[in-house]
């Protein structure tokens, strides 16, 4: 393994993307993700890649559409309001079966909101990103090493399933620094026979398109796509469990809030309250079956979110509401503390245990 170096989350995302073969990056500055673009601006020309600061987020996502149509690994990044602007383009990527990696370093919203960290784009990322029947893969790292690793995986998954993949981070992860072992540069072996990269007069033209004149044809295409989504839901789910075996209360948290929750778990255990954690790493596909298994032994669930409570609905669905599900949260860019989570744990203990 390479010697560890100190990196900021946003830089680690950018460098890992380059090492995973990303050769086109189209960006637009917005706090707290600007370092991704700044890093790419410096590095892409050095390795023969393309960095372009677009005139807007809308332009950037459509540049990604063009680049990825040729089979080139392409990425864009933004933070919450910028992702909303990219929404139309992401729907077009999904409708054209194009791979791409999109990074969202989430900040407080709605509207212009603020620049401090948040997780209030969960519903947007996993359910309502844009118009039409489609999903994108959503991966949620909780440390900078995992940011490095998941960027590589996001490119591979996007290419394998021909669909956009999002890294959903937050301002904390984007801005903080941690030691990481960067992945070695690696070449993808995934074939892209669909790419519009020149026929050399040896094959028919490849067409990249999301417009279908006949509704029955569109219906068939969408249904085929959903068959692929079902395959992904069966095979690509990722999660991590922490002290769930004997836990009466299981915290469900992803990203930075899962790290804060871990402190609360240790404090609760010191008081004799058996608490564990289930951390979804893929937010879509959501680890429904695994979480439902945890509900066989857990007596109550607590989601910890930097939002008004968005993932909580997926938790209730996954366990068919057979256990009470509580929420500990802050929003608007405020970061929850371990003590706030611990207070909620004590309250749950009083009510249900």
């Amino acid at each position: 393994m390479a010697e560890k170096v100190l990196m900021k989350g946003n830089e680690a995302l950018a460098e890992s993307a380059i090492r995973a073969g990303c050769r086109c990056f189209f960006g637009y500055p917005i706090t707290p993700q600007t370092e991704v673009a700044a890093y790419m601006a410096k590095r892409m020309p050095q390795i023969g890649g393309t960095y372009l600061q677009a005139e807007s987020e809308v332009a950037a996502i459509n540049m990604v559409y063009g680049a990825t149509s040729t089979g080139t690994r392409a990425m864009t990044s933004s933070s919450s309001p910028g992702i909303s602007l990219k929404a139309e383009g992401i729907s077009y990527l999904a409708g054209s079966d194009l791979p791409a990696v999109i990074i969202n370093i989430c900040r407080g919203g709605p509207g212009l909101g603020g620049i401090q960290p948040a997780q209030s784009d969960y519903n947007q990322a996993t359910k309502g990103l844009a118009h039409g029947d489609f999903h994108i893969l959503v991966l949620a790292p909780n440390c900078i090493q995992e940011m490095c690793d998941l960027v590589s995986d996001a490119f591979d998954l996007a290419d394998t399933y021909r669909m956009p993949a999002m890294i959903l981070g937050d301002g904390m992860l984007g801005q903080m620094m941690e030691p990481v072992a960067l992945p070695e540069p690696h070449e993808s072996k995934i074939e892209k026979p669909w790419a519009a990269c020149g026929t050399e007069m040896k094959r028919p033209h490849n067409v990249i398109n999301s417009l279908y004149i006949k509704p029955d044809e569109l219906e068939r295409i969408v249904m085929d796509r959903y068959a692929r989504y079902r395959h992904i839901e069966e095979n690509e789910v990722r999660y991590e469990e922490f002290m769930t075996e004997d836990a009466d209360i299981v915290i469900v948290a992803y990203g930075a809030s899962s790290r804060i929750a871990r402190n609360a778990i240790m404090a609760a255990r010191a008081e004799g309250i058996k608490v564990g954690m289930f951390r979804p790493i893929t937010l879509w596909p959501f680890p429904k079956k695994a979480l439902d298994r945890v509900a066989d032994t857990a007596r109550a669930f607590l989601t910890v979110e930097l939002s008004m409570g968005q993932m909580i609905d997926d938790v209730k669905l996954a366990i068919n509401c057979r256990r009470p599900v509580y929420l500990a949260n802050r929003t608007g860019g405020m970061v929850i503390t371990p003590n706030e989570i611990l207070a909620k744990i004590r309250e749950i203990k009083g009510e249900t245990l």
């Binding site: 170096v5 100190l6 801005q175 903080m176 790290r259 402190n263």
Partner: protein, 220 residues
């Protein structure tokens, strides 16, 4: 002791934490110490995070009015002029790289007249300055952007929570290379204070420092 001490260097090399440590240490010897936050690049981690600690140490903090709020306004307050006044001794925390140093450049002639030290903060384990050449390139970029000259080097090599005494000593050759290439002296080797017993025999003055974490961000 010069009237103004400036910490500059690569983004994430540890300038802010050193500046806070330096200001608190200077306050023990001087009547009036100012810590001036000139970092208008970094939105989250800045001297403002240490506001309470500085207040307790009676160090006057000058920072952009909206620092750590929900808006991103890259401007410096008029109050910065205080660093040139009276009996004040000042520490300036500069934003990373040349983009951070541009803000410093507007005061270059006044800083020069007042008398200053400008230290390049080095971290041999910080990506993009892993090679001495890369650190030297950033040094030249910062000098060009700020219209000021560095007067010394500080070896602040660290790996965050995974720092060890060995990581600090391993950087000795790296720092020597930068010193040779620039003709600048190594003025201090800084390290987390609990590493002190192993590191007091370091080249350059040993400088044990306190790590001031962002309050409320309790990440394991």
């Amino acid at each position: 002791m010069k009237k103004i001490t400036i910490f500059a260097g690569h983004y994430g090399s540890g300038k802010t934490n050193l500046a806070v440590n330096a200001a608190i240490a200077l306050k023990r010897r001087h009547g009036s110490v100012i810590l001036c936050d000139m970092d208008i690049v970094n939105p989250y981690f800045r001297t403002k995070d240490s506001e309470d600690i500085l207040k307790e140490a009676r160090v006057r903090l000058i920072s952009p009015r909206f620092a750590n709020s929900n808006v991103d306004l890259p401007y410096l307050p008029a109050e910065v002029a205080a660093i040139f006044n009276g009996e004040n001794i000042s520490v300036i925390d500069v934003g990373g790289d040349d983009s951070g140093a541009i803000a410093l450049g507007q005061y270059a002639s006044r800083i020069e007249n007042a008398g200053y030290d400008m230290f390049l903060v080095l971290n041999a384990r910080r990506y993009l300055t892993l090679e001495p050449d890369e650190a030297v390139a950033i040094l030249h970029e910062i000098e060009a952007a700020s219209s000021l000259r560095f007067t010394g080097l500080i070896n602040n090599t660290n790996l965050g929570h995974e720092s060890t005494a060995e990581i600090v000593t391993q950087a000795r050759g790296y720092v020597e290379s930068v010193a040779r290439a620039t003709g600048l002296p190594l003025v201090a080797t800084s390290f987390r204070e609990d590493l002190s017993p192993a590191l007091t025999a370091q080249d350059g003055a040993a400088w044990p420092i306190t790590i001031y974490e962002k309050p409320g961000w309790a990440l394991y």
